[in-house]
Symmetry: C2
Subunit: 352 residues, 2 copies
């Protein structure tokens, strides 16, 4: 693998990560145009209805008066699209018009209407297309999108706030606040990435949270809310005012059906679960949580652990536990933070 090429693709991955809000149902994509080993222009996708990364990069190049596309290479972390089933025109024809010399793609688009068709269109026009550069890193960036496209299921992220000894509340149920203001502020960033938020009905009844997203100004931009179990007297609760009837989903079916039903019936691409120990334990044990954001704070609170994870699990051996390996970790304010995936989604057809 050429180091120069890898560093150009790395630049695409970094561009793709610029938006601080979620882009779903669209993927995160960055693109750069390289002429004589120099980056001429960059582009990235800002969300549904806005130009795709490749087109943004072309426009940026043209603004600078650049015209030598046919002597340039284009790097992009996702296969250029070729279908008309969306608000923006397909990218492949526009790249063909510019007649790029080489196009480097990290991985093929798992979208049912693309899946190699974009690559094939480009190749037929005479452009040299190479697929596979930083493939895994690029797929890591778009796990929710890949799960959506390949399985028609909602990507489920879970936030857990625990004391350092692993309790979600003390024995009398007090959980405000185990983690610091700094961590809770970071949770608002996580909320800003997701399509919907999920909580247990007990949380609604006892804590009566707003579950708003500080980073979003208008109520129209709020996510949907999934409440697990049926809370009594929902209409007196703050979430009723914030979300309103149309955006609250009461979930009291089998938990296994969650990813498919939320996706197909409710158009939820990503769900951030901020539930209590029962809900969290169930999602963990059944392998339904795809990604974890773990916060340890406060200290050691002791007690019998009434509100700790997996109280009703009866795993016989350590080997039966739900494995977890964080991929990144650090301090957020006074708290310990870790992020990692429990499930990994890959789209690996003939990639070349």
């Amino acid at each position: 693998m050429s180091l120069e090429r890898a560093s150009f693709m790395q630049a695409c991955l970094e561009l793709a990560q610029i938006p601080d809000h979620g882009l779903l149902p669209n993927p995160r994509v960055g693109a750069i145009i390289v002429y004589q080993s120099k980056i001429i222009a960059e582009g990235f996708h800002r969300g549904p209805g806005t130009p795709h990364a490749e087109i943004a990069a072309i426009r940026n190049a043209e603004k600078k008066g650049f015209r030598k596309f046919s002597q340039s290479d284009l790097y992009v972390n996702l296969e250029p699209c070729c279908h008309l089933n969306k608000r923006t025109p397909p990218c492949a024809p526009q790249l063909i018009e510019k007649a790029f010399k080489n196009i480097f793609i990290a991985h093929l688009d798992p979208h049912p209407l693309v899946r190699g068709n974009g690559r094939d269109q480009l190749r037929k026009s005479g452009i040299k297309v190479s697929v596979g550069l930083l493939n895994e890193a690029a797929q890591d960036l778009n796990q929710a999108f890949i799960k959506n496209q390949t399985r028609s299921e909602t990507y489920i992220t879970m936030k857990l706030a625990l004391s350092f000894d692993g309790k979600m509340a003390n024995d009398s149920g007090q959980s405000q606040w185990i983690t610091s203001e700094a961590s809770r502020s970071f949770v608002h960033q996580l909320r800003n990435q997701t399509t919907a938020i999920g909580v247990g009905s007990r949380t609604i009844e006892i804590d009566d949270p707003r579950l708003s997203i500080r980073l979003r100004q208008k109520s129209e931009k709020f996510s949907k809310l999934v409440i697990f179990g049926r809370p009594k007297d929902l209409k007196s609760k703050k979430v009723w005012k914030v979300f309103g009837p149309g955006r609250i989903i009461i979930w009291d079916e089998k938990i296994e059906k969650l990813p498919r039903r939320l996706y197909e019936d409710h158009g939820i691409y990503q769900l951030l679960v901020e539930g209590g120990p029962k809900l969290a334990s169930s999602l963990l044990l059944k392998g339904l949580a795809d990604e974890l954001h773990l916060f340890y704070g406060r200290g050691f609170i002791g007690g019998k652990g009434r509100f700790s994870l997996g109280r009703d699990w009866t795993l016989k051996s350590l080997a039966d536990s739900v494995s977890f390996q964080p991929q990144s970790a650090g301090l957020i304010g006074p708290d310990l933070y870790a992020n990692g995936r429990l499930n990994v989604y890959r789209y690996h057809p003939k990639n070349r």
Copy 2:
């Protein structure tokens, strides 16, 4: 505070941290000699019986043929010593002989025979002495030494290996292995820093560990072992072979007496506790643990939490919990790691 001076003192702190083994009862010290804003020579202390950092730096300067000490500044993170009650000659007279222009010291030596006397000797000779540069960072480096000298107590470090849901073993008592080989290998580095290791008698009975230090070759260099509670049939256990009778201390007194008695009666400067949940909970709740090394590994093991921390605590409110804020964090292999202090020791007489 001059940035240049701070960076020279920072260099001392980094030198002080070079030895990968513990130096107790001696402190970690680094020294540099600066002539015309350039570092001429460096030195650091390697442990009892070896030259102090200042003397090591002077020797390194002389090896290079450097002689202009009277036009040079010396930086050292601890006050130069002036007492004869040890294996090496005192430093202050040797610095006076070299007639340094300025000596910058991070903090005074809390050793009862120094405590400002070194500084005073130097000043009387006409050397300009400044105390206080990076004082706090320098004291952070020598917490065990400062606790020893100011309180005549053992510094107690605790290692905790927990599942991500905070259990030290599953309900049937299985704890091998919650953390990975990478973390366990790091624990051998921690063992290499300490004077003694402490475990509960249950650990000796059930796990029958060697509690050796892989990084040390010879058995003479092994630490002492403190066993909490009286294990049955100790002589058949591996630790009996590794440590032998003279180096095993059976602790069955009140836990509050631990830091003073271990220091005064047994000459233990630092104790690394690798105990089970009962011992760990007791040291935490009573404020006896000074520093924590926390490892989260394996995943979520669930159950009733028979082997979790603070089972018998009955704290009424979250505000009563044992507060903990890690100072550093990261990944060790697949595990989450955090390190932090529960107690902070400072020596702050008139520092100037």
